[in-house]
Subunit: 301 residues, 2 copies
């Protein structure tokens, strides 16, 4: 018989393709659970059963709430948590209650919106709040790599502006579904090819469009190899992003949320531009953000 898990609240990070839950006592993680029942796989009625399936073993104490962030709060989610407009703090004091048939009390964090240029985020605001909770008084730019990488300018505890790039999704599509898939399959990575492509794309961003097919042709004609081609594809895409995001990192203090391959690629690309960016653990930031949201919820109730 295993020990019972008795959290006093539950933290949930519910994205498009994943659902992650944490049994919490205060700011301490008692247990973790994860499933692939992301928003994209669920209809509105499916969220509560999916969460029940994942955390069924946990014995929540008293009225212990569930605090959730991410796409769970989108129009296609469990409940629509209205966007808040920047500039603003990453978290509001109010959360949106999701309808639940069982005794679960589920509260969803609002995403952020920006009108010019048009942009939105859901989930990253919680990571930003967590990063600020872990680094009080920090001013500068936070880069949040992912399927859709976000750059956020933070000042005096507020998100001043932000910008989203589809670089991660483009890399995934081009490397698995385009003609380039024949030339990038595998796990190899040539750092020199990445560096050269970043430099090329930053200095001449219009070349991105011209370089993509050349990656395929270069492999056909010169057997360049998957490790070099894959790294060059990533380098062209990240370089083009850095060219467009220059105002976010030039002369700024930059932190990158993430410690994996993608985060280190951004760190390396920024380093070549003379920007030394620190890497921050994503889960730690997410949990710190959800803990801050839970704390403000307790103060409200």
């Amino acid at each position: 018989m295993t020990d019972q898990i008795t959290p006093d609240w539950i933290a949930v990070d519910w994205g498009i393709s994943n659902l992650r839950a944490f049994a919490m006592r205060g700011a301490t993680v008692l247990a973790r659970a994860r499933s692939d029942e992301g928003m994209a796989t669920l209809t509105r009625d499916g969220f509560e059963p999916a969460l029940r399936r994942l955390i069924g073993d946990w014995q929540v104490q008293g009225a212990g709430p569930v605090v959730a962030c991410g796409m769970v709060g989108s129009r296609q989610g469990w409940v629509e948590a209205p966007y808040r407009n920047v500039p603003c703090t990453p978290l509001s004091e109010g959360l949106t209650r999701a309808p639940a048939r069982s005794g679960l009390k589920v509260y969803v964090v609002s995403g952020l919106a920006q009108h010019a240029p048009a942009d939105v985020m859901r989930g990253e605001e919680t990571q930003i709040a967590g990063f600020l909770a872990l680094n009080p008084g920090w001013d500068g730019v936070l880069c949040l790599p992912g399927t859709h990488t976000k750059w956020a300018l933070l000042s005096a505890g507020e998100v001043v502006s932000f910008q989203t790039f589809m670089t991660g999704e483009m890399f995934a599509l081009l490397s698995t579904a385009s003609v380039l898939r024949h030339s990038v399959a595998g796990a190899g990575w040539e750092a020199a090819a990445f560096d050269a492509a970043v430099s090329d794309a930053i200095s001449r961003p219009e070349r991105l469009a011209a370089r993509l097919f050349s990656l395929r042709a270069g492999d056909l004609l010169d057997q360049r190899g998957a490790g070099a081609t894959r790294a060059a594809l990533s380098g062209y895409l990240i370089g083009a992003e850095l060219a467009a995001a220059r105002a976010y990192w030039l002369g700024q203090q930059v932190a990158i949320l993430g410690t994996g391959t993608q985060a280190r690629a951004y760190q390396s690309a920024l380093s070549a531009q003379g920007v030394s960016a620190m890497l921050v653990d994503t889960e730690r930031a997410t949990l710190a953000g959800l803990t801050a949201a839970h704390r403000s919820l307790k103060a409200m109730l």
Copy 2:
């Protein structure tokens, strides 16, 4: 009982996803046939049966050959027809014979290669040859829109250089497989949104990366509509291509191979840059090119 079709040769345009055959007498088309047995669906042994299935009704006279262009000549095709290096005429005098168990005599046109920057084409060289046969003495730039759009600089009957862009494939992937699919579904098209996006991307090509997610966010926040978002996506991608291909069209005489939506989008984008490009029928050019290849084959045999 239908009349028998008795060509003296057969023209074949065999791409990645389509196979098209034409029963020919000299330069005259007697009949057309088409199937979706493109190169991507076939192993090496499958080409001959696929062609037989398509043209089984045709009674080829005497030793009447099959002359084929396109991906049928690639390494994954029926037979590898070696690339020829530019600068060179679009067609060589020699063709590559494909192995056939039946009496078919199948000859495959070589593609073209360029080493710096690395690039390749298979099929377009035949269209270029046909365009030159239809427009003798023409010097200038030919734009061949498609999944992979090619720009070719032609002078004195030779292809001097060329460059391929994955714009068509990017548009297909982004509009059907990325987060943007939610915002571009449908057939609408707002010309003003296309024009504005072309202009934005040509003048500031680094913005392409920044603008893509804004298309989704703009639709979410401002209900911009699929017709405007779809046209803007196309405009950003074509604008970024024009920025990178500037050396090909600036101050040049330009012709566009194609008469459909995509060709007209390129024509409109070029027109906004002060370049008046004529549209040329693709099938006519392909057949003129295959007819020229057949003529040189007859001279050789």
